[in-house]
Point group: C2
Chain length 510, copies 2
């Protein structure tokens, strides 16, 4: 490991350099440990893994709080070692997911913009140790982050002790792209004065009392790369509907050609949509999002994008290299900010963000489930989707109309779990079409969704449900005792499609 001492501006801290396993030994049973890391970027590369190794032999459990998901299979390693009792606010590792759904570890799936406030109000107790990846430490002890900011600023402010991982694989001249504003505590929470995506409002490093730094570990491991799935026929169709819709909005005078700041969740649909912009007539676009993905840099290269604000750069390996090989051409067009700024209701509602997020399923009235399979098992979590959906100018949700060989319809009579109520969903898009739900009452929404979004193989079933529900009446008509029949069918028959005998038995009971 190259110990690049020029990365430590505060010389009194040089004596704190140590190996990862020694730093990990500071972590004790029952501690609340916070770690940098947001969608696999800027996370701990050494100390948490050294801790996981130790925990394989040591009966030790911690609460682990991060920005969002970690890379390096850290969550899998920690989960397998039984080292985590409580995890928050987001994770996306399949091994840990299984443990969570088995009830072996508690998981608090939080709105990503809210964790900082929850920490400041003390509901998770004090943070014992924060592990923060840095590109360097300045003379005043403040920390220059790497490829994400996440919750690191609030962790540094609140943690009793701090371990810094200086990652020399990240160029030192990443310094300058971070915009750190601490909003303070109630009743003196500050105005967040952002009025455009590209506006800097804070300092370029995370304030940190050097006395709290108990260890500095050098690493040179790159972020785990993002898995980029190329657009396919389905995602391209969805993207084209959204682009056409936005063009119509421009034509109608409700938007200009620069649109409004864009947010896109992670996933191949969002990726396809953003790629679609590269070939469109839109221009001078801005992004005010959580995660800056490959498509962000494609849009820069296509000359379509003026500025991108996010909390992390999470890209494929080739994109990562492209960015840092041409750092000068991107550096002044990017800001990475704390996730309570990127995801703040205040800024999102002021800027009028156009938010594009992925639904796991939606129902005929426009309610969206982003997180729970058949209402029970968590997939990843709500992430930042509600922060954006609730406060955006346009809240767009995308999903394929079916999956698993059409055995599952992603449009159902009533979603099995509600992350976003119909009030926070403006536009629903599947490869079948786009439903513009703005200005519609629930019965009108149902007609629009049935007409535009459902797969032909499920249209009859859903239309019949809606018809029967309307006969029964209500603002949001339902046949409550049949609302979840599709999940029952799926459990019993491996498909949401109705089997005749079942249909009769449920009719008998009504």
């Amino acid at each position: 490991m190259k110990e690049d001492l020029s990365r430590i501006g505060n010389v009194s801290l040089i004596e704190k350099i140590m190996q990862a396993n020694r730093a990990a030994s500071f972590i004790e049973n029952g501690m609340v440990v916070a770690s940098s890391g947001f969608t696999k970027s800027g996370d701990s590369k050494a100390v948490l893994l050294a801790f996981a190794e130790r925990a394989e032999f040591d009966p030790i459990k911690i609460t682990l709080i991060t920005g969002a998901s970690l890379g390096q299979h850290t969550d899998a390693r920690l989960g397998t070692a039984g080292a985590v009792s409580l995890r928050l606010p987001f994770q996306a590792d399949p091994v840990m997911r299984t443990l969570i759904n088995e009830g072996q570890l508690m998981y608090i799936d939080e709105n990503l913009g809210e964790t900082a406030m929850h920490l400041k109000t003390g509901i998770f107790g004090e943070i014992d140790i924060a592990v923060l990846e840095a590109s360097s430490i300045k003379e005043d002890g403040s920390i220059i982050p790497t490829t994400s900011v996440g919750n690191s600023a609030v962790f540094a402010a609140l943690a009793k002790q701090i371990i810094v991982e200086i990652n020399v694989s990240v160029p030192a001249d990443i310094e300058g792209i971070h915009d750190i504003l601490l909003t303070g505590k109630y009743p003196d929470k500050a105005i967040i004065p952002i009025i455009s995506a590209g506006q800097r409002v804070g300092r370029d490093s995370i304030p940190c009392d050097p006395e709290k730094i108990i260890g500095i570990v050098f690493t040179d491991k790159k972020d785990s790369p993002a898995d980029i799935l190329a657009p396919d026929k389905t995602t391209q169709k969805i993207a084209s509907y959204i682009l056409d819709f936005l063009k119509n909005e421009v034509r109608a005078g409700r938007l200009t050609n620069a649109l409004l700041p864009l947010q896109a969740g992670i996933g191949k649909v969002a990726n396809a949509v953003l790629q679609g912009f590269a070939e469109s007539d839109f221009g001078h676009l801005t992004i005010y999002s959580e995660v800056l993905q490959d498509s962000t840099f494609d849009l820069f290269d296509a000359g379509k994008l003026d500025f991108a604000s996010g909390s992390s750069i999470t890209v494929s390996q080739s994109c990562y290299e492209r960015i840092f090989d041409n750092w000068g051409s991107y550096k002044d067009k990017i800001l990475l900010r704390p996730q309570d700024i990127t995801n703040s209701a205040e800024v999102i509602s002021r800027l009028g963000v156009i938010a594009i997020n992925t639904a796991l399923e939606c129902d005929i009235y426009g309610n969206v489930n982003s997180s729970h399979i058949s209402g029970t098992d968590i997939m990843n979590g709500i992430g930042g989707s509600a922060d954006f959906a609730q406060n955006s100018y346009l809240s767009i949700f995308v999903t394929e109309s079916t999956c698993k060989g059409n055995t599952i319809s992603r449009v159902v009579p009533m979603v099995s779990h509600v992350d976003h109520s119909e009030h926070d969903v403006d536009i629903l898009v599947t490869e079948q079409g786009l439903a513009d739900l703005r200005g519609l009452a629930p019965r009108q929404k149902a007609k629009t969704i049935l007409q535009n979004c459902v797969h032909p193989e499920y249209r009859g079933m859903l239309e019949e449900y809606f018809k029967e529900a309307c006969q029964r009446g209500g603002q949001t008509p339902h046949v409550i005792e049949k609302a979840f029949d599709c999940y029952k069918n799926l459990r019993l028959n491996g498909s949401m499609k109705r089997h005749h005998s079942l249909h009769e038995s449920s009719l008998d009971q009504s």
Copy 2:
């Protein structure tokens, strides 16, 4: 009718004075009509009723947009006359509710803070006529509202034509309590610079182009009084749990004795809670809410409340008289603002509001239904509850544990309609106890709710459900095909309680 010409500062407008039925004749079939009025206060007292009278004989239908609910039985009269095709964003009239649930008129139940933005973006079309109650018109044509602001400022800005109802029953020296800030349109939406409940940020009248005023009607009818239900044993119990909880928060150092700005929904529980503050040790309280109710003025009189910000004064008749007989002692402690300011995510999240709202039902994981009976029929609507629940520092929901002679449990396995997801519910309170859900994962929330909030007659049923669900697994365990059995039982047997035969049949299917 006393035509008090001193109330019209702009003399060129005096020629626009007319009778209500003539003003109502400007309303044509298919028009979008906006009206002042928020929780029965400051609404149209004459023109809409004259229009309803005409519509009894005339096949004419309009879209009606207000601040919130109207008084004077206006919605009932309009509904019965068949004069409304679309109603938004809120109404609370039982006659119109029936028509809505029968599907005879479309109702868009909106977050009250969002309508102004939706109007500015044009999704409801242009406003043809706005009917605005005023206490007076200033020389520049701007309008001094009466007991509510609601959406009147955005209506005045956007409407093609305006009818002003000058209500001489409201003292002219109500002038000065209104704080009108227009936030503008995207991409130039302004910062709302409120950092404390009592801070004035706007002007004292609603800007209005006098050229748009096509009629002025004098009225002298008082607002319909609020129905105040005295605290009873149940609501007092709920109130005492909340007060004890807040005292503990002060003891724990998370709040001071002045708490944080309070918001309370309409209803007897909220009323009981606020009355409880009058006899408490809390002091220098502030209110940042939608509606200022009797309890607000009781708190002023008890010397406990420093300031109250809202969008309307909605009080009982005796309280109304008390306020205006002692206007000098309240006037400088009150601000009435537009509802996109009182309910703005930006301000609520900055101030750290403590929000107390009423749930129709909640589930064992903390999801809340505020609006739909058994998932279908609307009660009133979501109102401002989500604006506050999503953005507050503490989101408290209250409900009785059962109703209708214990045939209905208000705590169910899964709510039949989700207005507020578990992410936006911090505290649940019934007369059985208080569940503090902060910092808990879903399974932990369920245990806390089962232990503290459910009625003894339903505890066994709910615990059994949760146990079976946990055996099946998941982050949010459910037995999806039994999740709504209680509603099925209610339909079939008039009670949510399980009947043995039904229980067996649902077991057979699982």
